[in-house]
């Protein structure tokens, strides 16, 4: 309560309510005091009413134009209201999808990685291996037909084939073993 507050008795409230009744309400049995208050109230309203003339049709046209551009928003809300299950279903779907992806990752992408294996290309003195694919014509390698070259080429073919297939732990391990054996041979005999 601030300093403007007063203690209003029920009679005061009643008087104030009657003095400020809507303009179209019939005011009967008003005492002189209430009538005087009501006159001031109605006069203020009349003065404002005189200024309230305006073009309703123009307002309506502007409103229609303005609201038409905003129509999709409530329609969307309405549509969403009709499907209250959409949000929980999306969340559950997301969780299930994440679980499946996690399971697949664990199944196919865990293999033993040996950090000691170095790429053959980085070894000093290694010949450059021609690029091959699964349809490699081996006769093209006739001038270099030595055992090590052939084994290297076969190993590369196997690696390339393996890269086209889904990763399998066993094939990668055997390929790695073979590469390691060849590396050993390179280090000991060929070089």
């Amino acid at each position: 309560m601030n300093e403007a507050d007063q203690n209003f008795l029920p009679d005061d409230v009643e008087r104030l309510t009657r003095a400020t009744a809507p303009p179209d309400a019939t005011a009967t049995d008003l005492d002189a005091e209430t009538l005087a208050l009501r006159d001031g109230f109605l006069r203020l309203g009349e003065l404002l009413d005189q200024a309230a003339e305006f073009d309703e049709a123009a307002l309506l046209a502007k409103l229609n134009h303005s609201l038409q551009s905003e129509a999709p928003a409530p329609a969307r809300r309405e549509k969403q209201k009709q499907r209250p299950w959409i949000l929980p279903a999306s969340i559950v779907g997301g969780v299930v999808a994440a679980a499946i992806i996690l399971l697949l990752c664990q199944t196919f992408f865990t293999f033993d990685f040996d950090p000691d294996i170095k790429p053959i290309a980085n070894l000093p003195g290694t010949k450059t291996i021609p690029e091959v694919d699964s349809n490699l014509d081996m006769t093209g390698f006739a001038p270099w037909r030595d055992v090590l070259d052939e084994r290297l080429t076969m190993a590369q073919i196997r690696m390339q084939e393996a890269s086209h297939l889904p990763l399998r732990r066993t094939s990668l391990i055997s390929a790695a073993e073979e590469m390691r054996a060849m590396q050993h041979e390179l280090n000991t005999s060929s070089l």
């Binding site: 507050d5 209003f8 005189q50 200024a51 307002l59």
Partner: protein
């Protein structure tokens, strides 16, 4: 807003309530152009949130609440505006320019309205005009203004007393 019955409803809102809402807005912004802009905004906001209104009840009270909030926001941004000839000339009849008596009458009316509005504080104006145009009960006005009921009654009483003095002065 595509259904015909919805269009009819908006038309009815405008027909039945736009003058009252505009009168309320004019008492605050005091310029017809500003009042018209705000009036459109009031109806736009009211229409977009009409679902909420349907839970609350009376259309007029609903519109007046929005008008009150927008008018107060505008006043806080722009400050109190005084009546001036340029602002009010738009609401005078077109023939007023040709008729000296009408010009005088318009000037008197403007002066009286200016005097009445200046007599009232912002809160007194809100209380009396929410009652006049919105027909809100004092308890509802107290809720709208976030004031205790006693304070609202006090504003109403003091505002009426001030207006009464204005009338008495004019009569003498």
């Amino acid at each position: 807003m595509t259904a015909p019955h919805e269009e009819n409803r908006l038309q009815r809102w405008v027909r039945e309530h736009s003058r009252a809402v505009r009168g309320y807005l004019l008492a605050f912004v005091r310029r017809p152009q500003d009042a018209d802009d705000l009036l459109q905004e009031v109806f736009r906001k009211a229409w977009l949130a009409r679902d909420r209104y349907e839970e609350r009840g009376q259309e007029r009270a609903y519109l007046m609440r929005i008008a009150d909030r927008l008018a107060c926001d505008r006043l806080r941004k722009k400050g109190e505006v005084q009546l001036d000839d340029a602002g009010w000339s738009a609401v005078e009849p077109a023939t007023a320019e040709m008729d000296p008596a009408a010009i005088l009458e318009g000037a008197e009316w403007r002066s009286e309205l200016q005097g009445a509005l200046e007599l009232l504080s912002e809160q007194q104006r809100r209380v009396l005009l929410l009652r006049y145009y919105g027909g809100l009960e004092f308890a509802a006005i107290a809720e709208q203004l976030s004031l205790p009921l006693g304070t609202v009654l006090s504003h109403g009483h003091r505002g009426l007393a001030a207006l009464r003095k204005l009338l008495t002065k004019e009569e003498t």
